[in-house]
Point group: C2
Chain length 465, copies 2
């Protein structure tokens, strides 16, 4: 046993990732020579999520074979961790009864997620064949709008009654433990199933067996509605350090819970989505490199065209100033420098404002405060960069007036960009749009158009053109 | 009771945020008229993290008064949720004995976090006055490097022995429940305290009282070392849907655990850090708007200067091509358009690669695959944008050759930028540097310099200058 222990910890030291790679290679080799018993043995000490990874890495023809090596209980857990694409492939490959067995035993929330991806026809067929209870569960979840708490909750929780003793509650927890999503958070409901309190298993364990639930439960509840945004629900769970958060319907009846492991995944996906939008990539979730290539290209193209059109304004402005440019071609030399630096100052502002709005560090009430703060920052940074720019352009061109134009422009651009970079995300959030749409590249482009305008205006003024 | 219940759920419907605002306003009003009893009553149904928020929103002079309204147990919980700045202020304001009471009862991980922020002199004084056990705990955590699993773990966990019966283990869980961080994950250690297995409270509850821990425990362990990066530890916990992950030292002895609530906060902070770096803002964590103004300015300035210096290369290039420019001033008109669009295509690539590397969706083994994939995307997008650009520039200038130069440049820039935007984050990751440093603005700037070079080269070629 001690050896086993040493082994399992020393496996750690070669790092989880290397271990996963190793399992995957071994599995593939054994399947290639059709050594099914060997493959089974390799998988014994591997955790379900790692098995799922290993299966995903196999050639398509081998995936179903590998999956069939698993025991029934393990198969369900592994299946829940597979990507929708692979899940779907396995469904098509399996005997009807095997598929049904797995579908019936999956967690309702994982099943709903899979059904979202499957063709409607397949979903109807599968739904019709589920057991009565599971069918109702799934239909319930699929009835809520995408991205709401209702859609991602699990209806498998433990509910208690106020009048029960602690002993009876513990008995119920023990009985439901094998089939319910969590036994650590238990919820108290009244006669018409309205949520009235919360008890943690920890408090149940500490309490005396003869105490009633009403005596020890926490009446000070935090819950969400079925139509609450899923990210909002996950953030509440994070804020209050909960292991689960209850979901109620319009009549305040308890209909499900969201557990912490799902909340982490939601926050992860939403953040990836925000980051991708911020970089100008419209993405559905967090699996960019697993998304189909052409759908990515389409989304990226759409966005680039919009930025391209805004950029065209800059050409129009310079075109209109062609005469000025003819008299001082040197001005063109500094266009990239001014645009890059101005855009960067502004994109810094939009980055922190968008992240602040998304994580609720700031809200729209603080818009004016934030704009002022960022504008002051922009002025200070612009002053510093302006001085450096004057030195640099004088060194490059030897013309003090031009140097002055460049430095002054940089100062004005910095202030303008920070204001635009701060104000636009707030404006979008105020209008109920996603502030992340006012992402860094948009801000950069807008700042560039403004910058070119300012540049030529200042040049005309100072150079008397 | 039912009224209370209805109230607490209907409070939900006015949204948590509005409720928090309400509490804060009421608290301030009551403290202003010195109605301490009223203020106490307002806080009774409020959760600790919301009380902490309300106190942070009060004027400094009132914070200590509000804090003193809390019962001792509540005070500790609220204190753990306060920002370090406010925590520090309260320490200075309190009687020595009150401070010690709170310090002694705080969770070791929260205390270590506070001590990081306090002046060394204060920490020494406080450490000396802690109880022996708590002093050891804190010194232990502070001994590990920042951002490691050791620094953020809690040494308060429940350990079991293999030979124990389930009954004895449950008894221990019950006894330690009031003081330990979690009772839901329990760890089995051998005679020299090496980690040998894991049992969930759920499995304990299901098992027969007379079974031994050795029979029901899971020997297939996932654990991290004290020097594992804290983000890595949190991601493992997320991957395996754990409620806690054990931390072992070099001798494989169990020294602490990281719980899921701390893991969520770590992932949140690390993501904010990544997003900020990505936008060109070097930030320590996720509280940008709560950080001191001038330290932010300093960090932003440093970064801008680096980008500025890279941008200067673009001026040098254009300066060198002044003769070409003199002959075809029209070329200057399209500089911003080419730079914006090229930079954006590249920053899309760097965004998805950096996120993919950070979340482990891709790793350095796939670098060549990713570069090829992005280059093809760049070629397709560049082709599309190039055609649009030819139409637009011909419409604006009426010169087909110039239009051809612009379109061709856009195509070449797109391919170059996607390659640079994909390759540089991989290179940084390969060199052990944070790939997020190769953020969108950096990529944009590098793409711009390359773009200007390509532009004039193609212009000379096509226009025969």
């Amino acid at each position: 046993m001690n050896d086993n222990n040493n082994l399992s910890v020393s496996k750690q030291s070669i790092s989880r990732r290397e271990l996963q790679k190793l399992v995957q290679t071994q599995l593939k080799m054994l399947l290639e020579v059709n050594n099914l018993e060997g493959a089974k043995t390799v998988l014994v000490p591997v955790l379900p999520v790692d098995i799922a990874d290993a299966i995903e890495g196999l050639p398509k023809a081998m995936q179903a074979i590998a999956f069939r090596l698993l025991s029934k209980d393990e198969a369900i857990e592994v299946y829940e961790h597979l990507e929708p694409k692979v899940q779907q492939l396995l469904i098509e490959d399996f005997k009807r009864q095997d598929v049904l067995d797995i579908m019936d035993k999956m967690s309702p929330d994982d099943r709903a997620k899979l059904f979202e991806e499957l063709p409607a026809k397949v979903v109807r067929r599968l739904l019709a064949q589920l057991s009565h209870e599971e069918r109702e569960n799934t239909a319930l979840l699929l009835g809520y709008k995408p991205n709401t708490a209702g859609r991602i909750m699990t209806p498998e929780y433990i509910s208690l009654k106020e009048g029960w003793t602690v002993d009876r509650a513990l008995e119920r927890a023990r009985r439901l433990a094998p089939t319910t999503e969590t036994i650590y958070s238990l919820y108290v409901t009244d006669a018409v199933h309205r949520l009235s309190g919360y008890v943690s298993l920890r408090n149940l364990v500490i309490a005396k067996p003869e105490q009633t639930i009403g005596e020890i439960m926490d009446r000070n509840l935090v819950c969400v509605h079925t139509d609450t945004d899923r990210e909002e629900a996950a953030r509440l769970l994070q804020r209050y350090d909960f292991l689960a958060i209850p979901v109620v319907d319009a009549e305040k009846r308890l209909v499900g819970i969201i557990t912490v492991d799902d909340a982490i995944d939601i926050l992860h996906e939403e953040t990836s989505k925000d980051i991708h939008i911020h970089g100008g990539v419209q993405s559905g979730g967090d699996r960019y490199f697993h998304s189909p290539f052409y759908s990515i290209i389409r989304r990226r193209a759409l966005w680039l065209i919009v930025v391209f059109i805004i950029s065209c304004l800059a050409s129009v402005i310079i075109q209109a100033q062609e005469k000025v440019l003819e008299q001082a071609i040197i001005l063109a030399v500094f266009i990239p420098l001014l645009m890059d630096t101005g855009g960067d100052v502004g994109s810094q502002s939009s980055t922190v404002v968008i992240r602040g709005l998304n994580t609720r560090e700031i809200d729209s009430h603080k818009a004016l405060w934030a704009i002022r703060r960022e504008a002051i920052a922009g002025a200070l940074l612009g002053l510093m960069l302006g001085v450096v720019a004057i030195v640099w352009s004088y060194f490059l061109q030897g013309d003090l007036l031009i140097a002055l134009v460049v430095g002054l422009t940089l100062l004005v651009i910095s202030v303008l960009s920070t204001i635009v970079g701060t104000a636009l995300p707030f404006l979008f959030s105020f209008l109920g749009l996603d502030p992340a749409l006012m992402s860094a590249p948009f801000i950069t482009t807008i700042a560039d158009v403004l910058g070119v305008l300012v540049y030529f205006y200042i040049a005309k003024l100072i150079l008397n053109l």
